[in-house]
Symmetry: C2
Subunit: 657 residues, 2 copies
């Protein structure tokens, strides 16, 4: 909507500056005034709002401004011939539009806003004197205005604003639509929040919908007494659940690529960059014979440099992963085992409670430290882009959480070889984690928000007339007080999606790895996730600020973690079954163990064969894409060729000179 | 070389017609003469050669002729902007050249030749009367000349000819270069034989080079007596070999993509087509609002049709695979086991020999029938292209060979639980297969060729003056008598590469699956493969006709089979180790078995994790490609955009009318 200048303006970015005590007489020196003027010069539409504690500058950009920024940024956009080309304002028609009809996605708009806001420098011939609340600042020639003001603490923050109209619409059609269960308006979520968050909710929705099947099966197994058949039903349940998980992970990939076909995002965008050793030199692609030798040599050298950097990067990542795994095994594992063991041998409930409190306190610290160490290690890796860095963090930190969540349960399973104890532990954990985490996740941000509001009110009322109730009239100020969508660990690289995905992954592992021990766990998970969809939506729409959009178009590292958990669960369930039949003593160990081993191997084979059987991209997506692009290519094939060969000739001539 | 008209002509295709007894007086009616005239009209350069038994028309095409044919065929070629576009003669400069500097690859040239040869129709206004050896043929208007003559048995064959100069060069630099061991001039092989054969030799070379490491290790294990350490050395050897195999399969993928980066072939060429339900209707990609509804409906219907055809195809393939697997297990397995069992219990050597003869005879039939059934089943699958069909055949037929080759060995391993018997069987099989197969493979075609030559001579000498020795003077006639490079099974879909790959895969499985039982097997394999490289080269260059080039750019199904064999070998070796330690009775079964199980799981994990650790495409290939294409794209970005948006507007306007 924002692109159409004739419609109402939508302010999408906010800049916060403190409220001034002294009003400047000379407007041209006033810092806020200069800032607004500069914003207008860049092409923004500006609105100033005076709040209770701070002053806000709301910014909206018409299409021309955004287009200019995009051209400056050399943003590559999908064209109708299926190739990503640099954006040009005049040739808007050549680019594929967003599903809602606009030219730029929210992610691209955000990039343009940032480029424009952080691109304002002093272009005049002299330094300018700015005044703010009595303080004097010299804006030097060529100096960046926002960075300068940020360093002087005059610009407190730049943050994306909610689009009130769309937010209300989404609140109605998404967050408060309880009776829709797993259905969500994914396209609208995409155009409001960007690809990554939309993909999360699509994943959550599909996962929950798929969960209904094992939940029903698990419930049947729990409620109906199969009598002597019970020993057969459990392996059947296990096999079905594993097949279900394998199919889910593959069909999710198909769903993902179908979604990406709807949104004009290229799958390979992020991975196609590669490490940068180009150093600005342009090497030709059809070098004339004279230069062949030199270039051949250059190319070999370049190739070697690339290979060196590739393997060095890989080695670094490997080393870091080894460090993390080693420290998890050597430091965290004994700690967890010690806790589990102590908890077992202590009789008194009070000491148990105290022990748990100490444990919870310590574990908080350990994960914090682990996260910080991981981030530090990752910064030394030469990952290709921030999404890769985030993935690297996810793997490392998940290792921590994996140990923390499951090792206790494994201990119980191994120690007791008793399904009823294991079941009790699982129920405890599931209930605890679901109830507690959902509560914390949603109430904590709200409490933060309330506290911030209270503090502002308190300050104000201290200064002004006491006893008078202060109302927050401006929406932008309320938004400013809302907390960010941030991760609990590794904030530098991740946003709140990390916690949401982590919760899902831990739940998935919990229900799948011990599926044989406690089939009704799937019901818990299904119910929890149906709630989760709406509460997460509510959290994003009502409690938090609008998150910074991220470009990634897949679930990323989390899918790999899901696949790893499926693998693990094949092994753990087989182990559980072996223990179970061993304990009950009805089967002899040899044929039973052999059967379980064969079952395990068959399942592992299916796990790895299934992705060959069902490709990641549905045929219709591929065909659609191929049809569209070849159509467009064929229509302008001749012209394209003329263009290319023309350029090629020029290039060759240049090289020869 | 062929493209440059000023260089000497290279005749790349031959057409065979029988030698006439009666010479026609009226040349314009003479069939051969008309054929030559038509060829010349199309733009070929023609040479007629009169052989001993037949007459040959050799064809060469200058660049213009090929270019015209390529444009007619709408061949898509890689351009400098990294996009495949339809070939246009005028814009040759826009397309990436082959490594040897020519415009078309041998595969593309062959396509053009075929298009031209089989594209000659009677364009004149009346039917023409042709005479051949007294027979009269009416060439109707619009009738295809070659097809007509083929049906009348006048054109006996159309086949690709060797390029004598290049063949001799390759013979010197490749087939007779024994002391180069695994080094081969892959680029030259590519430009002479096309991608698929070059890829085979690159694979063979890399595989052999890599084999040297386990061969050395295996030999050490055999020659040096480790004493009490021997029980530890075997698992170490096993782990090393599996790691070696995992790394090999992944590094081969990297090598393959590096090779494809050198040759202008796109990786996804074959897979990007998809099933064809387009039925000529062109649906727009940015439909105006009025048509949106209708199109939306259309698109949903189209999507459904696609999904239906996709799943139907998958179901058909699954059904066919199930049929094959089922019949292998139910029919072949008992047969093989019966043979193995009978062979064991029979005492007399003579009966054993007879039994083996009967078995070998029967197995020949079984594989033939299996191959024929597979081909029939595959024809009913809707595979996307012939390469996919060939892959499907490979999977099915490999199942047959897998049973045939390994089940006897498994039987021995299980029955005796005795490594020395197993070792003896392995040595027998390895020696037998290597010596016999290499001998057969190379002598059979030569014998065929000699026999054919003899028959022609014999016929001739019966007719002409007896006692006079007849010499084959024309090279083209000799080539005509040479056998084709054809597969022993499923000839309709595969060429001789099938047998060569099959041999490699069976060898790989043999040495890897029983690695623990007989470590020096790797030495056999390495020696055999070093020979194999040169004998295969010799076979292709000297004994066989030039093969029809195939477009595929990867090893295809065979790599998957190699991966499957690696998986299998992890399991079989673990089983062998378990049996070994069980039999020797030095370890207790529990800790030993547990250790082996853990080792197995770790290896399986590594097998599937390794491909994530080392990507299939080297960073320098990716970076090179990205750099080249983005450079070209950036250079003509604006012009491209103008072209696209112009076409887009036209298109939208047309739609609206």
């Amino acid at each position: 909507m924002n692109e159409h200048g004739n419609e109402e303006r939508v302010f999408e970015m906010g800049v916060v500056i403190p409220k001034r005590v002294i009003q400047e007489e000379d407007e041209s020196c006033d810092c806020a005034h200069v800032l607004v003027k500069e914003f207008e010069k860049v092409g923004f539409e500006v609105e100033r709002v005076i709040g209770i504690a701070d002053e806000f500058i709301k910014l909206a950009a018409p299409l021309e401004t955004l287009g200019r920024a995009a051209a400056e940024l050399q943003i590559k956009k999908r064209t109708h011939i299926g190739m990503d080309l640099q954006f040009e304002v005049e040739e808007v028609e050549a680019f594929v539009k967003q599903p809602d009809g606009s030219v730029f996605s929210w992610c691209e708009r955000f990039q343009c806003y940032c480029h424009l806001i952080y691109g304002m420098v002093n272009n005049s011939k002299s330094a300018k004197d700015l005044k703010f609340d009595g303080k004097e600042i010299k804006w030097e020639i060529g100096e960046n205005l926002i960075l300068k003001l940020e360093s002087e603490n005059i610009v407190k923050q730049v943050f994306p604003l909610h689009d009130e109209k769309k937010r209300k619409k989404l609140l109605k059609s998404w967050a408060l639509h309880w009776w829709h269960f797993t259905n969500q308006p994914i396209d609208e979520i995409y155009s409001y929040y960007g690809a990554k968050i939309a993909i999360y909710f699509a994943f959550l929705g599909m996962y929950t919908r798929w969960l209904l099947f094992p939940a029903a099966f698990g419930l049947t197994l729990q409620l109906i007494d199969f009598g002597s058949l019970k020993l057969v039903m459990l392996p059947v349940f296990f096999v079905m659940v594993i097949l279900w998980a394998i199919m889910f992970s593959q069909f999710w990939k198909r769903k993902n690529s179908a979604l990406l076909a709807r949104w004009p995002i290229s799958y390979v965008d992020a991975t196609d960059e590669g490490p940068k050793i180009t150093d600005g030199k342009a090497s030709s692609w059809q070098p004339p014979m004279e230069l062949m030798k030199v270039l051949e040599y250059d190319r070999i050298k370049e190739k070697e440099a690339f290979q060196k950097s590739e393997w060095l990067g890989r080695f670094m990542r490997f080393r870091n992963d080894a460090i993390i795994i080693f420290s998890i095994i050597c430091l965290q594992l004994p700690f967890e085992l010690a806790y589990a063991h102590l908890y077992e041998i202590i009789g008194s409930d009070i000491i148990k409670f105290g022990l748990t409190a100490v444990y919870l306190f310590a574990i908080q610290y350990i994960t914090k430290i682990g996260g910080r160490v991981s981030v530090k290690l990752i910064m030394k890796e030469n990952n290709e882009n921030t999404e890769k860095q985030a993935d690297s963090l996810v793997y490392k930190v998940f290792g921590l959480y994996f140990m923390q969540t499951y090792i206790g349960i494994f201990y119980h399973a191994l120690l007791h070889r008793n399904f009823s104890t294991l079941r009790r532990v699982l129920i405890q954990r599931l209930l605890l984690s679901e109830v507690l985490e959902n509560l914390l996740e949603n109430s904590l941000p709200y409490l933060k928000y309330s506290y911030k509001k209270y503090r502002v009110r308190h300050k104000k009322s201290e200064k002004g007339a006491a006893g008078e109730k202060i109302q927050f009239t401006s929406r932008v100020e309320k938004e400013y007080l809302k907390p960010r969508y941030s991760a609990s660990i590794g904030e530098e690289l991740e946003d709140g999606l990390f916690d949401d995905f982590l919760e899902l992954a831990l739940q998935f592992g919990m229900i799948l790895m011990f599926a044989c021990a406690f089939p009704p766990a799937f019901v818990f998970a299904a119910v929890n996730n149906i709630m989760e969809i709406r509460t997460d939506a509510l959290k994003l729409l009502a409690i938090l600020r609008r998150p910074v959009p991220r470009a990634a178009a897949t679930v990323g590292a989390w899918l790999n973690i899901f696949q790893f958990l499926i693998l693990m669960s094949i092994c753990t369930n087989c182990a559980l079954l072996a223990w179970l039949y061993d304990e009950e003593g009805k089967w002899k160990i040899e044929p039973g163990l052999a059967a379980i081993l064969i079952m395990e191997h068959v399942l592992l084979l299916i796990k790895f064969g299934f992705s060959r059987f069902v490709p990641e991209e549905p045929a219709w997506v591929r065909a659609n894409r191929a049809k569209r692009t070849t159509q467009a290519q064929d229509m302008c094939s001749k012209k394209l060729l003329r263009t290319i060969s023309g350029v090629d000739k020029n290039f060759a001539e240049k090289k020869l000179k």
